[in-house]
């Protein structure tokens, strides 16, 4: 029997973590200023125009973007792990991030060669392609699975892994066709980054991620049933096909939006749910909201690290999450047991 924290304490701790990390993210940077600093300056009657610009046009949108992306990726990881009954299921292992990246690259190359307008009726084509490719990935997974009498979670996972590999060679192909001077930008994007300016990306993330995440949270009770026994879940009135379709489509939508804005950021969907589960247990009514909050805080923290590592400029955030996530993953494998998993 694992020792667990109470529901109230878990939510409180995750919320406190978010507040601290967001405050730190706003206060720490090349310029020593934060909300408190700004307030002091304002009361002293000094000009706060520059400071306000840095705070509200650079640091705040960047922090919000990191938070939304991390929260969404962690929540999708949680849901996929239960849905595929596998501790390794993440937006990554299902090929979603790869497919989204492939879509982004395809759009970039087509735009460069004048075969695709930058945007169609206001919808930026890069984002549209990222989402469409991610959705195609999920539909293909479902199509392959539904060709079989019973779409077992193992089939879904293997299909996703295979499609991810195909998407990666698709990325290579678009790189081969891309203009050489374009490659630097493209590769930089592939490393993931929340170094955004202004609120347009934040708005896209908020509109794309928040409603879908809330919808995904309502599936918690069904995911509990599904993780225990698929057949018992069906016997208790869970519509299995609808649950699979709902979670996969919501997951691909959330991932597609995030990937198109900040690039493929890996391991968040793996590190966060597994860590949170060790504290909350495997009940999704608690695990999912706490993972959501912790995922947001985790990516903000990674972004802070990316900004503060003492090298020229800053390190892409995708490299940071992978540097943290990779060893963590190996540790899970070596320990031979995932917290709160029976495998």
């Amino acid at each position: 029997m694992t020792r667990r924290v109470s529901a109230g304490h878990a939510v409180l701790a995750a919320t406190a973590l978010c507040v601290i990390v967001i405050a730190a993210s706003l206060s720490i940077g090349p310029e020593p200023l934060g909300p408190l600093h700004l307030l002091r300056q304002w009361r002293a009657g000094e000009s706060i125009e520059d400071a306000a610009y840095i705070l509200f046009s650079l640091r705040l949108p960047r922090t919000l973007a990191a938070f939304l992306a991390g929260a969404g990726l962690a929540l999708v990881g949680c849901a996929f792990q239960a849905l595929l009954r596998n501790p390794l299921a993440t937006p990554y292992t299902l090929g979603l991030a790869g497919a989204g990246s492939f879509g982004t690259y395809t759009a970039l190359v087509l735009i460069d060669f004048g075969r695709l307008p930058y945007s169609v009726i206001g919808v930026p084509m890069v984002q549209a392609f990222a989402f469409l490719f991610a959705a195609a990935d999920v539909l293909l997974i479902f199509l392959v699975a539904s060709r079989r009498a019973r779409p077992t979670p193992a089939v879904l996972l293997l299909t996703g892994v295979t499609l991810g590999i195909i998407a990666n060679s698709g990325i290579m192909l678009t790189r081969y066709f891309a203009r050489p001077e374009r490659l630097i930008d493209m590769d930089r994007w592939l490393m993931g980054g929340v170094d955004i300016v202004g609120y347009r990306p934040v708005a896209v993330l908020a509109i794309g991620v928040v409603p879908a995440c809330l919808w995904l949270l309502t599936q918690a009770g069904k995911l509990d049933q599904f993780g225990f026994s698929e057949e018992m879940a069906a016997g208790r009135g869970v519509n299995i096909t609808r649950l699979q379709l709902t979670v996969l489509l919501l997951g691909s939508f959330i991932t597609g939006v995030i990937v198109s804005e900040v690039g493929p950021i890996g391991f968040v969907g793996l590190v966060v749910p597994h860590t949170v589960r060790a504290f909350t247990g495997a009940g999704h009514r608690l695990l999912m909201p706490v993972s959501l909050l912790s995922g947001g805080a985790f990516l903000c923290l990674c972004d802070l690290a990316a900004r503060k590592v003492p090298v020229a400029g800053e390190i892409p955030i995708g490299i940071i999450t992978t540097l943290i996530g990779g060893p963590f993953f190996l540790y899970l494998l070596v320990r031979g047991r995932f917290a709160d998993w029976e495998t």
């Binding site: 501790p87 026994s229 018992m232 016997g235 519509n239 009940g283 709160d340």
Partner: protein, 265 residues
């Protein structure tokens, strides 16, 4: 009210041309244990899934108190009948109590967690199955017999009136399989209707009130009281083997024994 779940001349095939059940009838009534027996591959588990409403019959119909089972909303159905499949393999680490609480799903709203009433029902079901003292232990660390009792508690927590179980004694030793069947008979005494798929004809003979014997040809070979079903010629034809039937020395119920194939040493 005495519930009655009935399959009426149902047929089913997973793939066209390969019927798994032909024109089969079976009934599970409140207050009685109904055994579903037959050789491997005769369609016992499929029949149970049709009775649960998890599969739709190709022809014929399944009714609960005369109303077609397909017309029930899934959660409404789950409040009347509960299903315990074989080989439950949870992926998450759960305590026995958490497993039993999962049974409250058909009564709990989509967003709300279990209420104190739900937790009380779960505790009561654990007391009824003598699992209350192991409620804090991890489900997968329990012995086979304990695990089966916890699963029974978890389907009882659905507060159903009919229980449908697929080989609940598979992989249990003789003491624990008798324990499970004793519990099922006691539940039937309390008014539950029990439908149980089993391979153990002797246990079925001892504990079932009625039996349905499916044949290798996926049809009903016999049904009725155990003494009427467990006859040498009926069983031998259904299993395609030489089956002998005697009387149990202590209980007097039929005692079934399969002869080795002809020519075997």
């Amino acid at each position: 009210m005495n519930r009655c779940l009935a399959a009426e001349s149902v047929a089913f095939a997973y793939e066209p041309g390969a019927p798994v059940l032909r024109d089969v009838a079976a009934t599970v009534r409140g207050g009685a244990v109904a055994g579903i027996v037959g050789p491997n591959g005769s369609g016992k588990s499929t029949l149970l899934r049709l009775l649960c409403g998890l599969l739709e019959p190709g022809s014929g119909r399944v009714t609960l108190d005369g109303r077609p089972l397909a017309s029930f909303r899934p959660r409404e159905r789950a409040r009347s009948l509960a299903f315990l499949p074989q080989g439950v393999q949870p992926v998450f680490l759960l305590s026995a109590f958490e497993v039993v609480c999962l049974g409250r799903y058909p009564h709990v709203g989509a967003l709300a967690g279990p209420s104190s009433h739900d937790l009380e029902v779960a505790r009561r079901c654990m007391r009824d199955t003598a699992t209350d003292d192991i409620r804090h232990r991890s489900f997968m660390e329990l012995s086979g017999g304990e695990r089966q009792r916890v699963l029974l508690a978890s389907i009882l927590a659905q507060e159903p009136e009919l229980l449908l179980l697929d080989e609940p004694t598979a992989a249990l030793d003789i003491h624990h399989e008798t324990e499970v069947f004793t519990l099922l008979a006691r539940l039937a005494g309390d008014g539950y209707g029990v439908g149980v798929v089993t391979h153990d004809l002797n246990l079925a003979a001892r504990f079932c009130d009625t039996m349905v014997l499916l044949s290798r040809e996926h049809a009903v070979a016999a049904c009725g009281a155990p003494e009427a079903v467990l006859r040498e010629e009926t069983l031998s034809a259904a299993y395609g083997a030489r089956i002998r039937v005697g009387a149990h020395p202590f209980t007097g119920t039929p005692l079934v024994y399969a002869e080795p194939p002809e020519g075997a040493p």
